[in-house]
């Protein structure tokens, strides 16, 4: 059986990759995918601990995260499409109107 440490290390690596992507990529769609990556890293952690404890709480949490991620993807993509239609770009560097 694979020790839990490996799962956690994998989850941490996924999370860091996701966060790196969110911070440095300029394409809004890619930023989105990176957010999904971070959410899945969290899911993986939940499941790893669920397996360690042998109960179902982690599974329940993971399902909630999946539901939230689905909703977030739907709304987020709709916002990206709306932004693209009005501004003709999905580059986050070009969308900086919310400033002082």
């Amino acid at each position: 059986m694979v020790p839990i440490t490996y799962y956690l290390l994998l989850a941490a690596a996924l999370f860091c990759m996701g966060m790196f992507g969110v911070l440095v990529r300029t394409n809004a769609l890619v930023v989105f995918m990176c957010v999904e990556l971070m959410l899945n890293a969290a899911n993986l952690t939940f499941l790893a601990f669920a397996r360690m404890h042998g109960d179902g709480i982690g599974h329940v949490s993971a399902f909630f995260v999946i539901a939230v991620a689905a909703a977030e993807a739907a709304i987020g993509l709709a916002i990206v499409i709306a932004v693209f239609r009005s501004r003709g770009t999905v580059n986050v560097d070009d969308i900086r109107t919310m400033k002082h």
Binding site: V22, L23, V92, I95, R96, M98, K99, H100
Partner: protein, 740 residues
């Protein structure tokens, strides 16, 4: 004969059926007020008149039935209800009561919505709804040209409802609701013509003056609540035994009915005197609580003096009488109903209701009697030089209320209550007569510009004459007997340790009688006798409509007939005869008598006045009236046009300016308060609150906000980076905590 007696002793509606419906007496005028106030404009004048009058008439019919039921003794069983504070067999006779449950409760404190009608409140119910109905009827004609009729009748009905609450309440807090309700209705009606600044100002003056009294009333109520708590903690079985109850029953009743119930207060008063051999007496110090160290008697005296201040506000006594003469700014029927017949007697009613507590404190009683006598004398002297017919009547009301306070203060409660009733009749008649005079003379109120109305307004003249005789105390009208009963009691009752009070107050009483006769004769003579003044507004006065003369006639008849109450026709328990009204009120006032006897604070005398006393009072009244008749019919008309002596002019000026009391109050109270308010306004309100707190907060927030907005770059990834760094910081902190 037996048939008639049986008829009056059998109530048409049995008491136990009537008692749960007592609330209807209050609800009817309240409903009338609601309908007139909300839908009045829509309904039109005739409908508003009908609704307002029928609401009060309905309340009157119910009051008659209730009053009848309080004397019900069908089948030899006197109407009664079990005294909640007494032992099982202890019943309150000649009374109806119903408890509608808790109004509010907080901890041990509880107030119930309970109504009680005994002979005292029953009599007042009849006066309020009966005189109230007559005045509503009169108003339909008096206000026929006024646009605000709906508002007027709504306020008038509201007043009746509040006054009925006041007299029917079975506890102090519910009484206070009515007390405040009548104050509010009075304020609304004094300032009824609010577009005139002077009238609006008079309304505010009445309101503020009454607030001072109400504040004292509230403090007194709190003291009474604390006193009941202390009594309950400290009393031993002998005290409860003397009060005719036991600790279990008393505590149970306290938890069910609350500490401010009048029946409970009565029991406490019965347990307090020294002769009981119990642990608690008037000299006993209170062991615990906020009143620790003070004696029961001392706290009782303070509470009663505070009640006196409260009653002085409502009943226009020194030092708070100044609002009543200005209250004449309201419509005249309002002056008749509120500021003469009913509301202003609330203070007298309060002391009659609390008579068993009052007799425990001779100091407070002496103060009440002296305050009453001084107020009465001062008001009578001011009335000498007033030329406004309503002002004279207002000061005469203050003076008559002072006489009632003298009676209450000297422990002759039944006579004070009787004078309250007879005064309601003749003073309402006088005020309505004055209103009729004004109505027929183009709203002229200056008696110097009237005169000779005797031939033009026959009904008004006749009724005014009867009422003048009644208030002057001419045999055999009601005012003579009620006033004389008070003075007899004042002379023969003695307060323990304060014997001189009787003599002083009685002497003042005789002076007041002469003064009353003088100024009332003056008003009557100048208005109705002699020639019509050349300065009159209209050439010929016209008599008023039947709506206005009918109430006058009824009230005049009542002012004569009410004398029956003072005739000694009823057998006394210890032999001899006693006045009808004393006998009638004895179920209500007996606890006060027993308490006074046990506590040895007041020696109550029960004798009836001798013929000599009657003759003295009669001669005094006649001499005052005769002097006025000589001066105003013969002396002054002859001297017309001749210069008046300097001293006489100065005396008249001082009396005409009401002894400068208003100016004195202006100088020592109103000015300093205005100055203080000005300082508070400038420093606390304008500077500290407005500038520093309100505008300062806004200024700081705005400055900080405009500095911080430069941090907003609009770059979503920069925000994410900040969040990531913060998260990292959090993780680092958690790691350090775990590792340590």
């Amino acid at each position: 004969m037996d048939g008639i007696i049986d008829f009056f002793r059998t109530a048409p509606i049995p008491p136990d059926v009537l008692a749960p419906s007592l609330w209807l007496i209050i609800a009817l005028p309240l409903l009338g007020a609601f309908v007139c106030g909300v839908f009045g404009r829509m309904l039109g004048r005739a409908n508003v008149n009908l609704i307002a009058c029928s609401a009060v008439a309905g309340a009157f019919v119910l009051s008659v039935l209730t009053f009848w039921a309080t004397s019900d003794s069908a089948g030899g069983r006197v109407v009664n209800f079990p005294n909640p504070f007494g032992l099982e067999r202890d019943v309150v006779r000649y009374a109806l009561a119903h408890d509608y449950g808790t109004w509010f409760a907080a901890g041990d404190f509880r107030v119930n919505f309970g109504l009680l009608v005994d002979h005292l409140s029953g009599t007042l119910l009849l006066v309020i709804t009966g005189v109230g109905f007559l005045i509503h009827l009169y108003s339909t004609s008096y206000m026929e040209h006024d646009e605000g009729y709906a508002r007027y009748f709504a306020y008038l009905n509201l007043f009746v409802a509040a006054m009925l609450t006041l007299v029917m309440a079975d506890n102090l807090v519910l009484l206070f609701v009515g007390w405040e309700g009548v104050g509010m209705a009075s304020y609304l009606l004094i300032g009824f013509w609010y577009t005139d600044p002077a009238k609006a100002w008079a309304g505010r003056k009445a309101f503020v003056t009454n607030r001072i009294g109400d504040f004292a009333f509230l403090i007194a109520t709190f003291l009474i609540v604390l006193l009941v708590g202390a009594f309950n903690r400290q009393a031993d079985p002998r005290d409860f035994n003397a009060a005719g109850t036991s600790r279990e029953r008393y505590e149970q009743a306290l938890s069910e009915r609350g500490p401010v119930n009048f029946k409970g207060l009565e029991k406490m008063a019965q347990g307090l005197p020294e002769g009981t051999g119990g642990k608690v007496s008037l000299e006993t110090p209170i062991e615990s609580g906020p009143l620790e160290g003070h004696t029961f008697g001392g706290v009782m005296t303070v509470a009663m003096l505070l009640f006196l201040l409260g009653a002085a506000g409502k009943s226009a006594q020194l030092p708070l009488y100044v609002w009543l003469p200005d209250a004449m700014a309201g419509p005249t029927p309002v002056s008749a109903l509120i500021h003469a017949a009913t509301m202003v007697t609330a203070g007298v009613y309060l002391f009659c209701r609390m008579s068993s507590l009052l007799v425990l404190s001779p100091t407070a009683m002496a103060t009440i009697a002296i305050v009453g006598a001084l107020t009465s004398l001062l008001a009578a002297l001011i009335a000498f030089a007033q030329d406004d017919i309503k002002k004279v009547l207002a000061y005469s009301t203050v003076s008559q209320l002072g006489i009632m306070f003298m009676g209450v203060g000297m422990g002759i409660f039944w006579a004070a209550a009787l004078h309250l009733v007879t005064h309601a009749f003749f003073k309402a008649c006088l005020f309505l007569g004055a209103g009729s005079v004004m109505h027929g003379n183009g709203d002229e109120t200056d008696i110097k510009k009237l005169g000779g109305l005797r031939h033009e307004m026959k009904w008004t003249w006749g009724t005014f004459l009867v009422a003048t005789f009644a208030i002057t105390g001419i045999f055999p009208l009601s005012g003579f007997f009620s006033k004389d009963a008070i003075f007899h009691g004042v002379e023969h009752n003695h307060l323990h340790g304060l014997h001189w009070v009787s003599e002083v107050v009685y002497a003042l009483g005789l002076v007041i009688t002469a003064c009353t006769a003088f100024y009332m004769s003056r008003v009557y003579l100048l208005t109705f006798e002699g020639k019509r003044s050349s300065e009159a507004r209209v050439a010929h006065a016209h008599e008023s409509a039947w709506h206005m003369t009918l109430p006058l006639v009824v009230l005049a008849v009542l002012s004569v007939a009410a004398a029956v109450y003072a005739f000694p026709l009823m057998p006394r328990a210890g032999g001899g005869m006693q006045p009808v009204f004393e006998n009638f009120l004895s179920p209500v006032l007996r606890p006060a008598e027993t308490v006074a006897k046990a506590a040895e604070t007041v020696e109550l005398d029960n004798s009836t006045p001798s013929l000599l006393a009657y003759l003295t009072a009669w001669l005094v009244a006649i001499s005052g009236g005769g002097l006025a008749a000589y001066l105003y019919l013969s002396f002054f008309p002859k001297r017309a046009g001749q210069p008046v002596g300097a001293v006489a002019r100065a005396v008249r000026r001082v009396a005409h300016n009401k002894f400068y009391v208003d100016e004195l109050y202006e100088f020592i109270i109103i000015r300093p308060i205005k100055f203080l308010s000005f300082i508070l306004f400038r420093v606390v309100d304008s500077l500290v609150i407005d500038t520093v707190f309100v505008r300062g907060t806004a200024w700081v927030t705005a400055r900080v906000g405009s500095a911080l907005r430069y941090l907003q770059s609009g770059d979503a990834q920069a925000y994410a980076a900040v969040m990531a760094v913060a998260l990292l910081g959090g993780v680092a902190y958690a790691l350090i905590q775990v590792l340590q």
